[in-house]
Amino acid sequence: MSPTIAVVGASLAGLSAARALRDQSYDGRIVVIGDEVHAPYDRPPLSKGFLAGTASLEDITLGAPDDAELRLEWRLGTTAVGLDHRSRSVLLHDGSEVRADGVVLATGARARRLPGGKGLDGVHVLRSLDDAIALRVDLATAERLVVIGAGFIGAEVASTARTLGLQVTVVETQPVPLAGPLGPEMGGVCAELHADHGTRLLTGTGVAGLVGTGRVEAVDLTDGTRLPADVVVVGIGATPNTEWLADSGVALGNGVLTDARGATTIPGVVAVGDCAAAWSASHGRHVRIEHWTHALEQPAAAVATLLGTGGPAPTPVPYFWSDQYGARIQFAGSRRDGDVARVVEGSCADRSFLVAYERDGHPVAVLGMNQPRLFTRWRRQLRSAVPATS
């Protein structure tokens, strides 16, 4: 009987793992289990073109014309509820199971919700296609949107809602948005983007509660302000989907713990994408990365581990982008507090610039706004500067 590999999770990381298995000459069965009923689709447009109505479902599907050659057995609309490591079986919500010789964990993350949320209508998170469809319907008849959290999702939703003609207020607990990934100075520039485009940004204030019966009517802030709202979007981060593995014996932390090559603590089980926290020698701890490019690229190494053909651990340069208010924001590298941000091209006032983050005089990260060509050059330099680790 031919071997079976079960890929649990049917989004970018799961699909990339399945493709990588075939790329690496695995010829056995591949069963892809996904809890959503939809075939794999691209999530970044959900807060941008798809939400605005300019990109269709067909536009954002991830399937390619020659995917039939992958010979994947899809189990969509099927939630994995457990992993039995002795028989290496994935247990499914309908009571059935998939026995496998190898398992790829790719269950991703889910949007964090507001603590004590009362289940009011008009309050949304944005993570899945169904979330985006529901939000799009609600925005179509709304006038006032309040976005809780000025991270990338929040900023992109605010930007899209402005193009749809809504009045938008963004609430952020930190003094500056995006200070974590970009640092306070550059977070400040992103804050100005909101003002440029008529979005009201309130920083340094938390949410005290949501007001309404049945449907949300307003958001109360900790400083006493009450913001009337027809629709509220909560964009306060994501939680890895790992609860289903609680009794599996797989070590868990902030995600499924793996080594630098994707191996979990159970032989024959690897983890990829947003649900995985891989050991990082440079950080000295496990790091969970939620970037799109990570979900695309990292499965190849994990699959090699599963197939027993793994080479040196990859040392990727983290990369992400965000499209807000027509500005193209790109970031690569690893920034931490104390790094010095230096404008090397353009100017922040023009919303067209390149910033290098330097540590001990060496660039460790780069941020571009509306500078794709120059950004790409710097990103390439950062990559060549990263030493390979064994």
Partner: protein, 106 residues
């Protein structure tokens, strides 16, 4: 044929955008020249601004990858290939022939 630039003006790993009816991007991969449609088939972005890795270019915006030799998609989110164009080098100058598929391309 459209003259692009002297070969010396396009070193290995570099790309240049050529204004034609539809813009074209010309790449130098270790001394071999390739020309493809400049606009990514996923969203409006210039592939000449992209990241060249071997015989592939990665879109500078959303990381779609295209094979420079065939125009085929080698990485999502793009699903539609880009067109390829024939490149001719004559007397140290690079030319492209728009609408004429590169040799070996689909």
């Amino acid at each position: 044929m459209i003259p692009v630039c002297p070969t010396t003006a396009l070193p290995p790993g570099e790309a240049i955008r050529v204004d034609a009816d539809e813009p074209i991007a010309v790449f130098n991969v270790d001394g071999d020249f390739y020309a493809i449609d400049d606009t990514c088939t996923h969203q409006d972005a210039s592939l000449a601004d992209g990241w060249v890795d071997g015989c592939a270019v990665e879109c500078p915006l959303h990381a779609s990858c295209f094979d420079l030799r065939t125009g085929k998609v080698s990485g999502p989110p793009a699903k539609t290939p880009v067109g390829t164009h024939r490149v001719v080098v004559q007397d140290g100058t690079i030319y492209v022939q728009p609408g004429t598929a590169a040799d070996g391309a689909a």
